[in-house]
Symmetry: C2
Subunit: 336 residues, 2 copies
């Protein structure tokens, strides 16, 4: 079994995996698939060198099979297909309702070793059993799908509502798909022609705001009322400027994208229309449960989101392709 | 009876009031007191010339006594002390839950004639009866007090929570006072030394962020957790920058101040702490009802908020003093 070790300076070394026997309340997983996330690329760029350790085993979107369980673990057993909700909240106050974003939460694969290794040993409470009917490569999409479930849940999106998603990368697409599954009418706005075309192949109403007046489009589509919910998944100044132009009176905005700097925001629109905006980060237990249900129902085009699956030996090339980004959705590494 | 007519160019002419007999469903009020609001000053500056009519009778914070009622009005009668919730929603969809900010709502005193006249005839549904025990000059403060009640209600502020109010003008002060009445611990931030001192005389914990590190102060006061609720009542770039630095995880921000331009906002903090922000504008019926209750309980220092009461003949001088602003809270005009 192998592991991919990030050594800094955009370099990933492939080496032997060092299996860790599970201690009490831990689970050892034989990793099957693991996806490359935007955060992994951020690490690859060196932007998080101060937070990660060297060599860092990245990876937090995964699926696998239980290899062994430590004492006290009884919700899974050897051979079970599983995924991990990669938030190690061991050091958080158990009574904290928001420990998923708590100060002492450790994000596995960033703050601790991750899933780009053949055997991964994790706290038992992070392990979720998968339905036997779910392909393991789909299991590796559950983590970003749970992000989308969290975003849609915090939006309090309801069937029949009008949603606009700004940004059509993997998370934006998943948000759009989950919103559609919720029964909402969805408009996806994305400036990459490849991503617009890709979203259309999934049956989404995708438009390029560089070609179409998005505000007029949404106004027309909502009979002049404006959108019920806008998901800002770009993190860009354009997204921050656009997000307040689309909602109806008392409409909701969910901030999903990571904006590295403060962007100008039209606070007057918040006042004038009594808009509501909330940030959404990662997920909570119920979002992971919902993601597993949704994936298992088979209605989401998860296969289409997987651009390619490469053996872990090709991690360096896989990262470089993901980094170019132009015509890629999700790349999975195969660990075993 | 007289009226104050805004003629443009910072000029108010005093003339005769032209009483309008109440039509069906209307109420004619003999106006007692009417406050000068920031919006009135905005009109006085000429900033709303495109919206108002000339000559414009301003004024929407008032109290008075019913002079006569039109056919079909049975909730008040001649002689009753009253105030007006100055939102004429006649043209709104009656089923619209948000008609208080609806597209067809007319703000009385801006879009239609207001209260700076001896007799004011208004739609009956806007008239709220006052308790006989409430001094009429306090009745003229109910409108801004209802704004504060709306802000605190939309914040879902609860007893025991920590609130920070950015901005200590009349609305900021009323928000702080209502928040305190709700049982919250309140910190008021204000850069005017006069207003800081004034707030202290009301027993508020007021600090000047130019002298004290507000973020450190709030962190210390909340045992490192951050504030539950931040009210942004400045409309300024500094307020927009500060508002995201103070809340706890899942803390709430209420945008009350009117920001004329987009200001930089740290959207990353929304993502990171899952902050919630909502705009709040004017009030709804329950806020007016609550404001009347609160005022009648006599626990709010309403007398202290009234800097002076001047006869309507001195409206020009009163506006000029309010406009200088330095050492003024609320100036009332006496109409009868």
């Amino acid at each position: 079994m192998k592991a991919a070790y990030y050594e800094g300076n955009r370099t990933i070394r492939i080496g032997a995996c060092v299996p860790q026997d599970p201690k009490p309340d831990e689970v050892q997983i034989q990793v099957s698939h693991a996806g490359i996330c935007g955060t992994d690329l951020h690490i690859f760029h060196g932007a998080m060198d101060a937070r990660v350790s060297f060599p860092q085993v990245m990876g937090h979107e995964m699926s696998g099979t239980v290899e062994a369980v430590g004492e006290g673990v009884d919700h899974v057993r050897a051979g079970d297909p599983v995924t991990v909700m990669p938030l190690d909240t061991t050091l958080c106050d158990p009574a904290d309702p928001y420990k998923h974003i708590g100060q002492h939460m450790k994000f596995m694969g960033i703050d601790t070793p991750g899933a780009f290794q053949g055997y991964w040993t994790v706290p038992g409470f992070t392990v979720h059993k998968l339905p036997g009917s779910l392909p393991l490569q789909h299991g590796a999409l559950l983590e970003p799908l749970a992000v989308a479930c969290h975003d849609v849940r915090l939006a309090e999106l309801m069937a029949g509502e009008q949603a606009v998603v700004l940004g059509g990368g993997p998370i934006g697409l998943l948000v759009a798909l989950v919103a559609r599954e919720t029964g909402a009418t969805v408009t996806l706005s994305e400036i990459s022609p490849y991503r617009v075309d890709f979203a259309k192949t999934l049956g989404l109403d995708a438009i390029n705001p560089n070609e179409t007046d998005l505000q007029a489009y949404v106004e027309d589509k909502t009979a002049g009322q404006g959108a019920d919910v806008v998901f800002e998944v770009t993190g860009s100044p354009a997204g921050a400027a656009t997000m307040t132009t689309l909602p109806r009176i008392r409409g909701r905005i969910v901030v999903v994208g990571i904006a590295p700097n403060p962007h100008p925001v039209d606070l007057f629109q918040f006042f004038w229309k009594e808009l509501v905006m909330r940030g959404a980060r990662v997920y909570q237990e119920e979002d992971f449960t919902r993601a597993i249900e949704l994936a298992d129902e088979g209605k989401l085009p998860l296969d289409a989101l997987i651009t390619e699956i490469r053996p872990v030996d090709e991690a360096q090339a896989a990262f470089e392709r993901a980094d170019r980004g132009a015509e890629v959705m999700k790349i999975l590494l195969q660990l075993s």
